[in-house]
């Protein structure tokens, strides 16, 4: 029997949903018939709207997909203005205030507290400025990710930006690829640093050289992409994308990507959403059969075998080496610079967003880019403007040279807005980072330490690829239920990617900073000369590591120990689930 979601999608999905959405917005939230609400909420996802959790009835999260995290000059200002005008809800966040934008781990932007009646106005403003929410959620081509500084990066092997743009134009709104069995996450990377994080996407294109016949005077090394399929982190079933032994030149990426997307469309599991991601199809078939089927049924040219990759140079999120992230000042190809700024847990108040847009215009080209570590990058800053930019007061907050605990922090949405969540996340990670910064020193020579906090196993904060992985759980402390975190260690990407090992379960949240402090103390005492944390973890077994984690209460105080999901909003004064706001009026 087809699932409800498949049934709803077969009735209406994709581009046509927009008209219905606008009609409902016009006529009011209550005009959505009760018995169609579940179906329409599911369809709205295709247009980037996700209904917030219970207690927040009638409010939506809105995701804006920015391919490769590229915001053209002027677009960040538009985001700031929209956040300021429309992302104000009945709840005030004690750290971030009333209106803010979230930069996400897939180089997108999320706004909260959006009312249905405002959607047409927001869409209109986005469209007028070349932005869109289309396919930001839902079962189809999601925002395409990559090295955010594609086209500018001094270390680039090939400029992936034109390829990403072509894919985006070809497959967004393309009827043949509108309705897939599940989300379809694509990464295209042209740099040798691994910052596109292809390994954890459904489909990855990674830079590689191939000797191909040029006719005439023989062979030549050509730069193109190797193809991997079936990565993903969700639901305790993390997978690395599998090498299907295919190399494509840039001009054929679209054919291969379309072929694989069609293969997923036709063969993916539509009976069971938990088994639908392409990673499970690759598990079942094996990489070889994926290649064969692609060749036989979905492309009309002979596929090349894989080329020589540059994976041994990957450093992004790799736990050691230069460029674990893109923070700081880096040289561009054209002699100017890009400046990566740390946005703690990816959240920025609307006023700060607007100020950042000013700085981008004043010191650079106005363009801003978003990384998969929830940070922002100002591009095209000439040498002569660097000092003045670095002196700007805004950069005290969004630093190009932050504490390792600040720059290493990634956190998902959590109980503040998300239905699936088990624990509070973003504010908690801010509190953790501040406490660690004030109380813990890393051993000399260690200047990066990544801590990723996800509120549940969906793994939106990509916990499995951090030095310390934190994942929402519950436990009892003195008999009372409290929010807790599972602790994983030693994950990272790079040439030889590994997922964290979950060594310690259910640590009450107030004991987590103490646990990390104790762990780092043991690491400092026992590490071999120059050893990275990831290497240190790799040479210990799970029991040894569990012993090193050693949870402990400290002067860290966690105000959100209780079941924050039982509130309408964790930070409200009267937070009871029944004290939430009414569905917003259609004004």
């Amino acid at each position: 029997m087809p699932t409800d979601v498949e049934q709803w999608k077969s009735e209406a999905y994709g581009l046509e949903v927009r008209d219905h959405l606008f009609e409902f917005a016009q006529e009011g939230y209550d005009s959505i018939p009760d018995d169609e609400r579940d179906a329409w909420f599911e369809r709205f996802k295709w247009w980037g709207l996700y209904h917030q959790r219970n207690g927040q009835e009638g409010y939506f999260m809105m995701r804006i997909g920015t391919p490769n995290g590229v915001l053209e000059p002027g677009q960040l200002r538009v985001i700031g203005e929209i956040a300021d005008e429309y992302a104000r809800g009945p709840g005030t966040n004690p750290i971030f205030g009333d209106a803010y934008a979230d930069f996400t781990t897939r180089q997108s932007i999320q706004l909260h507290w959006i009312e249905l009646s405002d959607v047409p106005a927001v869409f209109e403003k986005l469209a007028a400025n070349g932005l869109s929410t289309q396919q930001a959620c839902g079962d189809s081509w999601r925002n395409i990710v990559g090295n955010p500084v594609a086209g500018k990066d001094g270390q680039e092997v090939i400029d992936a930006w034109p390829v990403i743009r072509e894919l985006n134009e070809t497959f967004k709104g393309n009827d043949d690829h509108t309705n897939l069995p599940r989300k379809w996450k694509v990464s295209v990377t042209g740099s040798a640093d691994g910052s596109g994080q292809g390994d954890i996407n459904d489909l990855a294109f990674e830079p590689a050289y191939k000797r191909v016949e040029t006719g005439g005077d023989g062979d030549e090394d050509t730069v193109g992409f190797n193809v991997r399929v079936g990565g993903g982190l969700a639901r305790n079933e993390p997978r690395l994308a599998r090498d299907i032994d295919v190399w494509v030149p840039p001009e054929k990426v679209s054919d291969v990507a379309g072929g694989l997307s069609a293969l997923f469309r036709d063969y993916g599991d539509r009976e069971d959403r938990y088994n639908a991601r392409v990673k499970f199809l690759v598990d079942e078939w094996g990489a070889e059969a994926v290649r064969e089927t692609l060749q036989e049924e979905y492309v009309d040219f002979e596929l090349e075998t894989a080329g020589r990759d540059v994976r041994e140079e990957y450093t992004y999120n790799a736990g050691e080496g230069e460029r674990n992230d893109l923070i700081g000042v880096h040289e561009q190809k054209d002699g100017t610079n890009f400046v990566g700024l740390n946005v703690l847990v990816g959240r920025m108040g609307a006023a700060d967003v607007l100020e950042l847009a000013d700085l981008a215009e004043e010191y650079g080209s106005g363009e801003v880019r978003l990384s998969q570590r929830q940070n922002v990058i100002l591009t095209d800053v000439p040498d002569a403007a660097l000092d003045d930019l670095l002196d700007e007061p805004l950069l005290d907050h969004y630093s190009p040279d932050p504490s390792p605990f600040m720059r290493g922090s990634v956190a998902c949405t959590g109980t503040e807005f998300c239905s699936l969540s088990i624990v509070e996340t973003k504010n908690r990670q801010v509190r953790f980072a501040r406490w660690l910064k004030g109380n813990v020193d890393l051993p000399s020579g260690v200047d990066e330490f990544h801590i990723h906090l996800s509120g549940c196993t969906a793994s939106c904060a990509q916990p499995q690829i951090a030095d310390v992985s934190l994942r929402g759980m519950k436990t009892r402390k003195d008999g009372d239920p409290v929010e807790a975190l599972d602790v994983g260690l030693g994950g990272g990407l790079g040439d030889d990617p590994q997922f964290a090992r979950w060594v310690t379960q259910r640590v009450p949240v107030d004991e987590v900073p103490g646990a990390i402090a104790n762990l780092i103390e043991s690491f400092a005492a026992e590490r071999e000369d120059g050893e990275s944390f990831r290497a240190f973890v790799a040479r210990h077994d799970d029991d040894e590591l569990d012993a090193l984690v050693d949870p402990e209460e400290t002067d860290y105080d966690d105000p959100m120990m209780h079941n924050t999901k039982r509130t309408w909003y964790p930070y409200a004064e009267n937070d009871g689930i029944d004290e939430g706001p009414p569905v917003p009026a259609d004004d």
Partner: protein, 106 residues
């Protein structure tokens, strides 16, 4: 009268007659279960897998973890509430649930 039963948002909700009624992240207590060896399972509800009805009792299978022993997996059918005169009433969350077998229809 038919009852519309659904799992929504990738397992975050049980929707009953078009209302999001039962949510994840709660702790449920289970008695005498195959889930783990504990006498009283202290289950974190992480994901709803499926929903059904046995007579007037709405039941679900849950992916979760016992926080007493750490065992993780999917439960058998567990009762979550009852439908009376077309209205759903959730069982008290602190009540102890017992896994039942029976005929399930959606």
């Amino acid at each position: 009268m038919t009852t519309r039963l659904r799992v929504l948002d990738d397992g975050a909700w049980l929707s009953i007659n078009d209302t999001r009624e039962v949510r994840v992240s709660e702790l449920w207590r289970l008695e005498s279960s195959d889930f783990c060896d504990c006498d009283l399972v202290d289950l974190v509800v992480e994901n709803f897998q499926t929903i059904g009805v046995d007579g007037s009792t709405v039941e679900t299978r849950v992916h979760g973890q016992c926080i007493a022993c750490g065992a993780a997996g999917t439960t058998g059918w567990l009762p979550v509430g009852r439908i009376r005169d077309g209205e759903f009433a959730e069982f008290d969350r602190s009540s102890v649930r017992r896994s039942r077998t029976g005929i399930h229809r959606r």
